[in-house]
Amino acid sequence: MNKNQKILFLFSLLAILGIIIYWFMQGAEIFTKTKVLIDQTSELDKMLGVKNEVWVDKFILGLDYSAVAIVIILILTIILNNLLKNKQKES
């Protein structure tokens, strides 16, 4: 394993770890969401005994998109690793 291959594996590992940490920080949802419910209950709503929630556009990364991104990173890593291996043989 040459220096470039080591750097490639390190970057891939960091990218995968970054995705997992980001997914976990976003609530570890199974499915990616594009909207979230925000509470907008006013004082008058409270007097009337009702609550008011609205959908607000927000991207929440789910396990589905995370898994796809990780698979893409792994495929790219394998391809680039083979290219770097061949270059080493040629040199």
Partner: protein, 210 residues
């Protein structure tokens, strides 16, 4: 003569003892319209399964209820929500929800609820009542009797209530459970992710002046 006197007494006794309603500065028959141009009224369903929790919500509620302010058991009315307006937070899932296999929004554009009976009235405050209700719930063309609980809050028109709508306001927070299987909703793809019984919550404010 004595029979008439006793009958009159019994009638007056039953009216004062059993008629339960709001103790507010208004009386008589009132009709409340729940069509809100500001789209702040909402009906939602909550489904919980081991795989995930789903909340579906719509702000497209229409309908009216009428009742005697002093006798909430006289309440009658019909409410409906637009099937296509239900959002779950995932666009693709919303499309599935509207599909023929699921709610079939194209064929059944509205979900309706007709209130037929109010019982077990409990006064929480002069302007707030807790009730149990039952009625005919129509989903995907199938009508079944459903029972639930609600809290009703009556606010007489004031400068503060005018911020929301003109006229007296009726706040309704209601909950009831719906067994989707009873209404022919049994999609195999989504069905595994959605509970068979979902809890429906309604938070809405009606105005007597619209």
């Amino acid at each position: 003569m004595k029979i008439i006197q006793i009958s009159f007494f019994l009638l007056a006794f039953s009216l004062t003892t059993f008629a339960q309603g709001f103790k507010v500065e208004t009386s008589g028959e009132k009709t409340f319209n729940f069509t809100d141009k500001g789209k702040r009224n909402q009906a939602s369903f909550f489904s919980t399964t081991p795989l995930e929790d789903i909340t579906g919500l719509t702000n497209d509620i229409n309908g009216k209820v009428s009742f005697n302010v002093n006798d909430i058991k006289s309440l009658k009315g019909e409410l409906s929500v637009s099937t296509a307006s239900i959002k779950t937070g995932i666009d693709l899932r919303d499309e599935h929800l509207r599909d023929a296999d699921w709610l079939d929004a194209a064929k059944y554009p509205n979900i309706k609820f007709t209130i037929t009976e109010v019982k077990d009235v409990k006064r929480l405050a002069d302007n707030r009542l807790q009730i149990k209700f039952s009625g005919d719930f129509t989903l995907k063309g199938v009508t079944k009797k459903i029972t639930g609980e609600a809290t009703l809050t009556y606010l007489v028109e004031s400068e503060q209530t005018k911020q929301r709508a003109p006229g007296d306001l009726l706040g309704v927070q209601a909950k009831f459970k719906v067994n989707l299987f009873d209404f022919g909703v049994k999609n195999k793809v989504i069905g595994q992710k959605v509970a068979e019984v979902v809890e429906v919550s309604v938070n809405m404010v009606g105005s007597s002046a619209i």
